[in-house]
């Protein structure tokens, strides 16, 4: 589904990604871990098409399409979803109107008619329930005055509504208490299927107790320095990241 080859990117003059290789197939969950500043969130931003990142090399294909050639909105329409680490508050845009616009723009891209109001309402109710999202929040302005946990749950609610092929969760667990973490993880587990895939970016192994990954990758200094199965996450939890850093540093000397 997603194939990243030697992806390099910089912000201003700083090289952030220094050659990422990653293959994600339908039905898989990949976890990306790594210390602060290793490039985890940058990878998510580059995949979603954030403008301040400049891709300096490599390629990304998504279902055979050159993802890097697409505008952020077209990537979303093709089925890439980024759950933001810091969801934006937009006063004056209602959550529900935002979702309806997004859903119908995606449908229009696939030459489908706008969703009927009744069907949209039914879908909203169903997904709210699935991810335990408070119905009162649906009619409020987008994320305005939401708590940190409510914002993250709203990301998962949007994920449920838009039903993407590939979801990238950028530190969705940060700032969540244990109950919110459980709700968010349950949501993801209910949404996973053999047709979609998840990239879960996280700092801590904790989230991976709830969302069990098929593969774990360690990102350090803009490269994936180690890949493994879910046991790798446990090893990282136990030993920290220092043992990962050494070979890279010595290699670069």
């Amino acid at each position: 589904m997603l194939s990243i080859k030697n992806l390099q990117a910089k912000v201003e003059d700083k090289q952030i990604l220094k050659g990422i290789n990653l293959q994600v197939n339908a039905g898989e969950i990949h976890a990306i871990m790594g210390p602060n500043g290793s490039g985890k969130s940058s990878l998510a931003s580059v995949l979603a098409g954030r403008q301040n990142f400049e891709v300096t090399g490599g390629e990304v294909s998504f279902d055979g399409k050159d993802l890097l050639e697409l505008s952020p909105e077209d990537r979303a329409r093709e089925g890439v979803f980024l759950a933001f680490q810091y969801p934006i508050e937009i006063p004056g845009v209602s959550n529900i109107n935002f979702l309806r616009t997004a859903l119908n723009e995606i449908r229009a891209y696939h030459n489908e008619p706008p969703m009927e109001a009744k069907e949209f309402l039914r879908l909203t109710r169903e997904k709210q329930k699935l991810v335990e999202f408070d119905a009162k929040l649906t009619n409020r302005s987008l994320n305005e005055g939401f708590s940190g946990g409510e914002k993250k749950r709203n990301e998962i609610f949007q994920l449920a509504m838009l039903n993407p092929k590939l979801a990238i969760l950028d530190e969705t667990d940060s700032g969540l208490d244990i109950d919110a973490l459980r709700i968010v993880s349950n949501g993801v587990n209910k949404l996973r299927s053999s047709n979609n895939a998840f990239i879960v970016i996280t700092h801590y192994q904790r989230l991976l107790e709830y969302i069990v990954p098929d593969f774990v990758h360690v990102l350090y200094d803009g490269r994936i320095v180690k890949s493994g199965t879910k046991e790798l996450a446990l090893e990282l939890e136990e030993k920290g990241y220092d043992w990962i850093k050494e070979p890279v540093t010595s290699e670069s000397v």
Binding site: I90, P91, G92
Partner: protein, 430 residues
Amino acid sequence: MITTTSLYDQFISLYHERENGKENEWLTNVRQTAFDAFSSRGLPTTRDEDWRFTNIAPFLKEDFHLSPRPASLHSIKKQIDIPSFDAYEVVLKNGMLNEDVSIPGIKIVPLRTALKDDSLAPYLSKHIPLQKHPFAALNTAMFENGIVIEVGKNAISEKPIHITHVYNAEEPVFIQPRILIVAGKGSKVEMVESFFVMGGKPVFINSVTECYVAENAQVDQYYLQTAPANLHLVNFTQVIQSRDSLYNNYTYTLPGAGLVRNNLHLDLNGSNTESHLFGLYLTGGNQLTDNHTFVNHLYPNCMSNELYKGVLMDNSRAVFNGKIYVHQDAQKTNAFQQNNNILLSNKAIIDSKPQLEIFADDVKCSHGSTVGSLNKDALFYLQARGIGEIAARNLLVNAFAFDVTNKIQIPAVREYIEKLITHKMAEAYD
């Protein structure tokens, strides 16, 4: 400069050519006072503080017909179509009303008819600071046509009154309409004004509106200023509120008219009044939009609230100048003013000047002004959900304008304005 002077000279000689003495004495006196004020000051230039950012000279260069003929406006049916807007329709052609309009409890008559006796003497030009406002003085000295709207005591208008100003621009014209609104005690009326221009020659409108809101009365005025680029509008609105009255003004300026200068002055002439001023200017092209407001707190326990928002595109330019003046007697005043702007283009310019002058010691007042651009993170967030860039900008601009558009009390007008915002923004990005 030379052409401006010559326009000035034309007005001076035109005034002297008028058959003075044909009108009632009180009116002759009003006109003479106004003429003296105009002739001593002349047309404003950017050297006048009130016109510092608005250079009027380029708009006055035309060889205007100063006394436009009754417009040869053939077969106009519905000029401005505001879908599902149910209103009493009034059409002014080149500032003229052809016949009386009868609405239950409300009398609308041509100004000429109303001036035949002395009934307007207590109202006409009683509160306008003519010395400071040469355009208002010019209108007062020279106006020929307009309308008088008299809302009877305790009359409640069932529907809004929709006044469409139709201008015939087959030749360059300078038109000076005059509107007088007298809302009796306990009455309530909503008025919506819109514009329609036929022909492509420059039209310069120098209009004056006076609005008297008696005790316990409520007047809502909507200005929908959407017109083609050849319309140049200078409008002076003087509102006089008696005690316990409520006045709401909604001024929406959208891309089109080359020049719009609004002066909105409120005299709070009694205690316990309430006033709301909402403004939105969405400007494009080479448009120049200037809003000057003045809220004059003269009595205690009055509340005024002002919110103007601006979205500037292309090479457009906007001016906001809001002044709140709290006199020494006006204790317990609550006066608020806010102006927020978004610049969508590097070439757009906004000059914002909020002013507060307070001479009472027990008041609650605030003012503020902001200028910014669209939040890039918000834009990306919307795009990352599949919403196209233009639609995302539209959503954000509508959200920015929401504080002002959601104050519109007439659903059809609100929908009309929201659609226009979307439509005008899409045009700008084509």
